[in-house]
Amino acid sequence: MNKRYVMVHDENKCIGCQACNVACRSENGTPEGVTRLQVRVEGPFGQAPNLHFKYHRVSCQQCEDAPCVKVCPTGAAYVGEDGIVTIKEDKCVGCMYCVAACPYKVRFVNPETKATDKCNFCKDTRLARGELPACVTVCPTDALTFGDANEPDSEVAKLLNTKPSYQDKIHLGTKPRIYRIPTKRGGIES
């Protein structure tokens, strides 16, 4: 595997506006009621006036060691050459093992295809056309950066080298590829 696609979510710049969520829905034709991506504005935490919100991106973490792939009995869930965790729709039998196994609770059964579904960095659509994922394209405040972390000159590599970042539930050993730059106030000290 020579590519290592990652996404960096700068929680300082994120305003929770859901532009990413809507762009994802329209690019991927996500049916009403289910979602591949959302940003949850959580909180406020702390004591007034020193309050803060948390801007929590909820989407597939593109784990290097993905529990959903391990439990999939049919090989529908697999890790591609590009490292992106993907689902082969026609191989999915809807057993929901992967939905249960995902520690980030981001997999769902697509009511139209009846197969499990989730974010795949717009692999088949935008990446295939040489474009950035839909969420990155529209983000009003440039809070999202996407690219190949193995490429030292890439924007993501530069960001990860210069700014403090964290990943969710790293103690589970899943090695997620969504990196988060924590907000300066509260949460994780930067």
């Binding site: 506006c17 009403e32 979602t35 504005v41 309050l51 529209v138 440039d142």
Partner: protein
């Protein structure tokens, strides 16, 4: 907050199927058509968004004749090729089965919800019969015309003018009017903010991280994240902008004016202000300085709950960052009855730090005419206007111009809510007809019951819209407009620091039996016998006329969607002026200090910035000088009720759009834990809010992010019209709690009141 967990997901799925079932029963809707074929006109079309009033440049992708993806137009640099959630959901409105795609005539009682599909010819005949009858019997002034501001209002008000009615209104007095009028009284024109280059930003609840204006939102984030600008926010609620601020002060609702005046007091008393700027460009400083002598930070603390030492410190920080600093004058100016002086006090602080035409401050728009003059050559083409000869001059006075204190208001859209008194009490005279275009007073005006009464009393009501909106539900006739993705429009001016034009273009072929509103109102004009006032055939002829028949230039604008000319210019910024002079050989010579400071003039009677205004004193005695006046907004035993914008919806317009309704369907009421505890209210409890005019229920969101004496809800929810299936009955309707109250001079419809809150 916005959340879609599994439980809501299941609920959402259920509601979704119910929607479809009911939608098919709505006559005239898109669902009633059988699989209308869609035809694309290009793969990637540049156009202009219309999901809110900002109108960002967009680019829409069309696949198999169907618009599937909308993003920003990269040609527009300050917009960065980005789009917000509302803008990205445009196709969801376009293909919403609930959209109205055929003219509808009321067949039951007004508001009963019984409709019959009719032809356009019948619709026009109905317009002509009713409007001409009212004109014949009572004069054309008995018909009010109201519209959402912007590209839509031009052709609509052209009809009003041709018809002979002076009574035209936009949503100005329900949202931005006060800062526009305050700016006009002081500078003679509107001003723009250069947030992106600012080093210090003071913000009075202008939440542009939720009420998104793409270039300003991006500018502010750029200032904060790339330039390390400090952001200070005064707002009763912990909003997203308060969260992103370096400092948040939970100011008492409606008292921002006292903070702004105290800032001015410190700047003047401690001689921190830009004295040479004031000497050169300002009149009325002495009167203002005399007035603000009393407005110490200590005085302000008692009124605003913001600590005096903080106000003093912030004034010093502001002065230290000047002139690359700004006190933001806001967006939705409906907080208090003293809006005029609140917005003027904010502008005054900007004037005192001399940030006009400086980076990071305020500046005047540079349209082609001005810019070309400085450049000494034609850098940008000037748009021409098609002349229409012999337009009638209304003989009657506007209903909001009997009271001369509103002199400055009418050109900015009038006092919209004056329609209510004119209809219900014949003050100053009786209105009998109301024609509307994409405006929703039942949701955006205050005192819903009164608006309803006025609508019911009208002899004829016609509404042009894309949905049976909260207001359209009470119309006699609904004219279905094509959405912005289905229509061409004139070239629009988007000039900032340099000239720029952009154009709305159709992305897909028109769906159903809809028409663009410019065409509808042209054809209504024909039906009314006013054809002679329409010398243009269609949009192409108008666009060509604008470009003086230069079809190459027109093609260029249409292809790019957005064209910017020249380089950014701020007259008092030496680096920008130097670059400008380098670029244009015949450019105006710079002053000795390397700027165009001597060319900076204002369109006021004195040609200077009027910190105190004799003209205002003339039409509103006692209002010439900015001063503090106590403006009680609630009774002692009530809580302040305030509202704001959310990033996924626009005022009263988008709550039925499928994707957006699915994201956020209702508005919880923010209430402080101490207040909630006192009232026995827990998180998620159903609660009732009762004001002097109405009562609404929603549920409680107990949060420390609000003052103890205040409750907050996002506006635009709680529709009571059953046709808006996804929005109806969800959350509380703000207009049903707010009394009908108008601010002096600026004519703003007040959006703050007192409420009692109880658990139900």
């Amino acid at each position: 907050m916005i959340k879609l967990d599994r439980r809501n997901f299941l609920k959402g799925a259920g509601a979704g199927s119910a929607t479809c079932a009911l939608a098919t029963m709505l006559p005239g809707s898109l669902a009633a058509l059988e699989n209308a074929p869609l035809q694309g006109v290009g793969k990637e079309v540049a156009s202009i968004c219309e999901m809110c009033s900002t109108r960002c440049p967009i680019s829409a992708r069309v696949v198999d004749g169907k618009n599937v993806f909308i993003t920003g137009n990269k040609e527009a640099k300050s917009f960065g090729g980005k789009v917000c959630a509302r803008g990205g959901a445009g196709h969801s409105l376009l293909y919403d089965p609930q959209r109205i795609v055929n003219p509808l005539k009321r067949v039951g009682e007004r508001g009963e919800g019984k409709w019959a599909e009719i032809s356009w010819d019948e619709a026009y005949e109905m317009m002509a019969t009713n409007l001409n009858r009212i004109k014949r019997e009572h004069g054309p002034e008995a018909v009010a015309f109201s519209s959402k501001k912007g590209s839509l209002s031009g052709h609509f008000f052209h009809l009003a003018k041709a018809f002979g009615s002076p009574n035209t209104f936009t949503h100005g007095s329900l949202c931005p009017g006060a800062y526009v009028i305050a700016a006009k009284s002081m500078f003679g024109t509107k001003l723009k903010r250069d947030l992106g280059n600012s080093k210090y930003i003071i913000n009075f609840g202008h939440n542009i991280y939720e009420g998104i204006n793409m270039s300003e939102t991006r500018g502010m984030m750029k200032a904060q994240s790339e330039r390390g600008a400090k952001l200070v926010v005064f707002e009763p609620r912990f909003s997203v902008v308060a969260d992103k601020a370096d400092e948040w002060h939970a100011v008492r609702p409606g008292t921002d004016v006292a903070v702004a005046l105290a800032l001015c007091h410190v700047l003047i008393t401690d001689k921190l202000y830009d004295q040479s700027f004031v000497e050169r460009y300002v009149v009325g400083f002495e009167e203002f300085a005399r007035e603000v002598k009393a407005y110490t930070p200590e005085w302000a603390e008692g009124i605003t709950d913001v600590k005096a030492k903080d106000i003093r410190r912030i004034a010093y920080e502001l002065a230290a960052a000047a002139p690359h600093a700004v006190v933001d004058f806001g967006h939705r100016a409906t907080f208090t009855t003293e809006e005029f002086d609140m917005r003027r006090a904010i502008f005054a602080a900007n004037v005192l730090i001399g940030n006009i035409e400086r980076k990071g401050g305020l500046y005047l728009g540079k349209k082609a005419k001005t810019y070309n003059k400085f450049a000494g050559e034609t850098v940008a083409p000037k748009l021409a206007k098609p002349g229409v000869e012999g337009m009638p001059k209304p003989t009657a006075k506007r209903i909001d111009q009997m009271d001369k204190q509103y002199t400055m208001v009418w050109k900015n859209g009038g006092v919209y809510q004056s329609i209510l008194a004119a209809t219900l009490e014949a003050k100053p005279y009786q209105l009998r007809g109301w024609v509307m275009s994409r405006t929703n007073p039942m949701q955006t005006m205050t005192d819903r019951a009164k608006v309803l009464e006025a609508l019911k009393k009208m002899e004829f009501v016609a509404v042009c819209d894309v949905y049976i909106s909260e207001t359209a539900a009470y119309a006699d006739l609904i004219l279905p407009e094509s959405t912005y993705l289905e229509r061409d429009e004139e070239i629009a001016d988007k000039s900032g620091k340099n000239p720029a034009y952009y154009v709305r273009q159709r992305v897909v072929e028109t769906i159903g039996n809809t028409k663009p509103s410019w065409q509808i109102f042209k054809e209504v004009g024909d039906a009314l016998g006013l054809s002679k006032f329409y010398p243009w055939e269609n949009m192409e002829t108008l666009q060509l006329a604008q470009m003086k028949r230069d079809d190459k230039a027109l093609r260029h604008i249409r292809e790019k969607g957005y064209v910017s000319y020249g380089k950014p210019l701020m007259l008092r910024e030496p680096s920008m002026v130097a670059k400008f002079i380098d670029t244009y050989a015949n450019a105006r010579k710079a002053d000795d200090d390397g700027t165009y400071a001597s060319a900076l003039k204002f369109k006021t009677p004195s040609g200077k910035i009027e910190l105190s205004s004799a003209a205002v004193e003339e039409f509103a005695p006692g209002r010439g000088v900015i001063r503090y006046r106590d403006a009680p907004l609630k009774r002692a035993d009530e809580l302040y009720f305030i509202q704001g914008k959310v990033a996924v919806h626009t005022n009263g317009a988008t709550h039925n759009v499928p994707i957006l309704a699915n994201l956020m369907a209702d508005n919880a009421v923010w209430i402080h834990p101490v207040t909630a505890g006192r009232l026995g209210i827990s998180h998620g409890d159903a609660i009732r809010l009762t004001s002097s005019v109405g009562s609404e229920t929603s549920y409680a969101m107990v949060t420390p992010g609000i003052r103890q004496d205040t409750v907050f809800a996002y506006m635009g929810f709680g529709s009571k019209n059953k046709e808006l299936i996804r929005a109806s009955g969800k959350g509380l309707h703000c207009g049903n709690l707010l009394p009908d109250s108008t601010a002096p001079v600026v004519g703003m419809n007040l959006h703050t009141t007192g409420v009692k809150v109880e658990k139900v």
